[in-house]
Amino acid sequence: MKTSYWLMRFALALLLLGMFFGHLASESYRFTDATQGILPFHVLRPLHVSSAYFGIIIGGLACVSLALFEIFPNLKLSKWLKIHLLLWLISICGIFYSYFTKDFSGREYWEFNPIWALPIFLSFVIFLFFILKNLLTEKKWPSYYWMWFTGIVFFLFVFLENYLWIFPYFKNDLISDLTLQWKVNGSIVGAVNQLLYGFSLYMMTKISGNSEMAHKKIAFALYFLGLFNLMFNWGHHIYLVPTSRFIHHLSYIVSMTEWIIFIKIIIDWKKQLSESKKYYYFFPYRFIMASEYWVAINLFLALLLSIPAVNLFTHGTHITVAHAMGTTIGINMMIILAGAFYYIAPPLLNKLTRITLNTLFWLVQSLLFLFILVLVIMGVKKSIWQFSDSSITFSQHQDSLSFIIVVFIVLGALLFFSLAGILLFLMQQSFIKKSKS
């Protein structure tokens, strides 16, 4: 179990680093030449993305492994988690080494030398064995077991696909390769979401004490709808890419099935409102609730962006970034924080801590909302520029945004500080808990 806590600490540290690099990178928007700043932007952006996203992946794995310790008192293969953690340590060190030495032989979001993908892949193989060995002792799986299993299996498959470009057969065909690249980026997010949504559902059953919830047909229906989308909806990233029309149409149709999820969320809203009053001061529940509100907001945005006619205007603008940041911070990070509070923080906090955390919680939610709003405004402005006459150059357009860019940097920094407060609190608690037990 200790290993799982270390996995969680590692994830929290990476999330913190990710936001720090993100802040440094955001400052580049104000620079007038490349020599300003601590590190160049093309080093900072990979550092930011990799720290944040690996923080999310490792956080998800930590949550799932902690849940397994709770479910199975005689957990099998728990020693394997040590190897799992070790492999992560090796790969993350390797990735940072790659970036600091400017060895960018990978590609967007995975810029590190592909050699470091190997320990990541192995760590997932180990995790797959670990969860299967335990889950298979039960016959009737709740839907969250399925989600965890799916998350791991699909991550492994898609991660292999992520490196097909190494073969000239794929690399030489510019458009097919671009298509595969975005197939991977779309599905990998889906796989990680399966891990996290599964954990979120598990937490809900624990908190409400209603374990039937995860066995209901509706829970499975939603799981399969998610899986179906993971497999076939990634094409909405590449509506503009001249690949076969079939991919675009399939993705358009599949994406639209998510309206069902959206409508279900709206219908369930009222029930949740009374429930959320009941557990208001229980932080794990609060963060899960926050993640569900962000699901609604982001899903609505995603549904719009998946309509090609809308996508034509938003693609390649900061509206896409708004969606990405909204889901990674609003949904993924909130679920991880819920898990971290659940397993790390004591259920009864003293008044001062409670007030501080309460303030930080609301600060994070409102700053994130404003941050996303500013990104959408930047996106709308860029879209207008793209559709206007071409006499205004890219730099002139960027310069016209200078005020919004300052707001974007300041909001980002404030969001970083408030989230850092919560992360540091959890980090500190994780050590107190350990010395007591």
Partner: protein, 146 residues
């Protein structure tokens, strides 16, 4: 009859396997695409285009620039840069080796620069990333303007 009933009874495993098989078929149909792309195999500049793509990748140009709107946002989309007025080979090479605004000066060899230009030209020939070249259809899709 009981067998039929059993097959149709709700089983997550069956649905999972069915979906996964469909997904694999879809994936493999995509893997065959480069094989069917005959035009590409006859391209005499293939080697240089690939080498140029590698230069693009190794120098992280995508952290600021986009291709078909995919990539970072600190610089302009470069899908069709080679067909823009005034963007001669010498001009592009000059920008890359001396830098502009937030873009650092990249110390690239002559060969790397030449390969990079092959890549940019090949990218330009794949299509257009300018949204104003497309028209919206009634069913929510869009197609290239005639």
């Amino acid at each position: 009859m009981p067998i039929v009933a059993k097959f149709y009874s709700f089983s997550p495993l069956k649905i999972f396997i069915t979906l996964s098989v469909l997904f694999l078929l879809f994936s493999f149909s995509l893997y065959l695409k480069p094989h069917r792309n005959k035009e590409l195999r006859n391209l005499s500049t293939q080697k240089q285009v690939s080498a140029g793509k590698e230069v693009w990748q190794r120098n992280n140009c995508h952290t600021c620039h986009q291709m078909y709107g995919l990539g970072g946002y600190l610089g302009p989309d470069l899908t069709n840069i080679m067909s823009k007025p005034g963007r001669t080979d010498a001009y592009i090479k000059g920008i890359i080796t001396s830098g502009v605004k937030q873009m650092p000066a990249f110390q690239l060899s002559d060969k790397e620069l030449t390969d990079l230009l092959f890549f940019l030209k090949a990218m330009n020939e794949t299509g257009t990333a300018n949204p104003t070249d497309y028209q919206i259809n009634i069913n929510g899709t869009y197609t290239l303007k005639k």
